[in-house]
């Protein structure tokens, strides 16, 4: 993987390289360079399979991290490309022209994180949620408990116990000081 990184750096300006395992590595890339790099990896380096496209919400840094995981079947290698994009009005170049399946991932990210992918097919269609009218639920500043309390009526009488304290009481009663 190091060798791949060395050849890539000759053509592209890349960020940090993290070697996770012998067959898995991550490279941080700037958003504008991602598309060209993915095309190169797909067409020249044999990374023909898009494994997944997912996002992480770095609320404190005001950023979304997109991870494009691609796979080279011939060499049994996985490569993750990490892209940091701004959290406000988050938008990213679509890669559905490289892998048609990416459109589905992008629909999911649009719905769950509110990341826009201009030009991606059926982007605004409902993916999992139907008729959702609140903030995208996977954003970390979306308070799921508060939303649930406001939306769904509760049945009174529900008790919540601290699991550790409850099991201690169940197992040892008042006897031990475990």
């Amino acid at each position: 993987m190091q060798q791949l990184y060395d050849t890539l750096t000759q053509r592209f300006s890349l960020g940090e390289f993290t070697r996770q395992r012998a067959d898995l590595a991550f490279i941080t890339v700037e958003a504008v360079r991602l598309h060209a790099l993915l095309r190169h990896l797909r067409d020249q380096e044999g990374f023909t399979h898009l494994v997944l496209l997912t996002a992480v919400d770095w609320l404190e840094d005001g950023q979304f991290q997109l991870t494009y995981l691609i796979n080279n079947r011939a060499k049994c290698q996985d490569l993750g490309l990490r892209v940091m994009i701004a959290r406000d009005n988050a938008s990213m170049e679509s890669i559905h022209d490289l892998w048609a399946a990416a459109a589905t991932y992008q629909r999911e990210l649009r719905e769950m994180f509110g990341i826009d992918f201009p030009g991606s097919p059926r982007l605004m269609d409902d993916f999992i949620l139907e008729g959702w009218n609140a903030a995208p639920p996977y954003r970390r500043d979306f308070d799921t408990l508060e939303y649930s309390r406001a939306t769904y009526r509760e049945r009174p009488g529900r008790e919540t116990r601290d699991p550790a304290a409850h099991m201690k009481q169940q197992l040892y009663g008042d006897k031990g000081d475990v």
């Binding site: 409902d126 009218n133 649930s148 009526r153 509760e154």
Partner: protein
Amino acid sequence: MKEELLKRIVKTPDGQEIEIDPLRDYYCEAGPTVQPPAYTAIIEKLFNWARSESLWILGFGTGCGAIEMRPLMTPRFDAYRYGIQWRPTPRQSNLFVISGYLSVKTLKRVIRSYEQMQGPKYVVGLGSCTINGGMYWDSYNTIKRLDDYLPVDVYIAGCMPRPEALLAGFEELKKIIRAGKAEGANQYAANFDWYKANQKSVIHDWDMPDYNW
């Protein structure tokens, strides 16, 4: 609203232009009605006995609890010996087992399926999720009280309840039916507006007729 449910002008094969309003033309606007019991008590008792001995479950697993249905259907627990069987369509079934958590998206399908079932029909809430939300109590996408949206006859607590618990629950339901107290369908018809208001308060994209099947 779905496009296919919107009012539109259609040209017939002989060149006429007609207006179609699918919600009025394709579906019936009448709501459900309360079915009175049979004329004499002894007949109603016979009916109730017969109903209790043929519980036909709609094969619709709404949540993880559906996994408990397989051992029930198959020889290990064999619910068929109690007159309980699974059917593939709502038209043939009279018992709806809500098996676990209900997301809002599933709730929509559940309501459609429930309304398509023919009365008298019964609902069993399976697992804690149907009672008070269970482990999904803070989820943004699952309802917490099933009886806000459908009339429930029996709840079976647990996460998950074992197949034995389900069998016990079905036996309990049979007792309720034989006592003539399983009036879920009538309750739904009598409080139809209340149920609809509750359903619409969580299903934001209501794109189907209110009661139409």
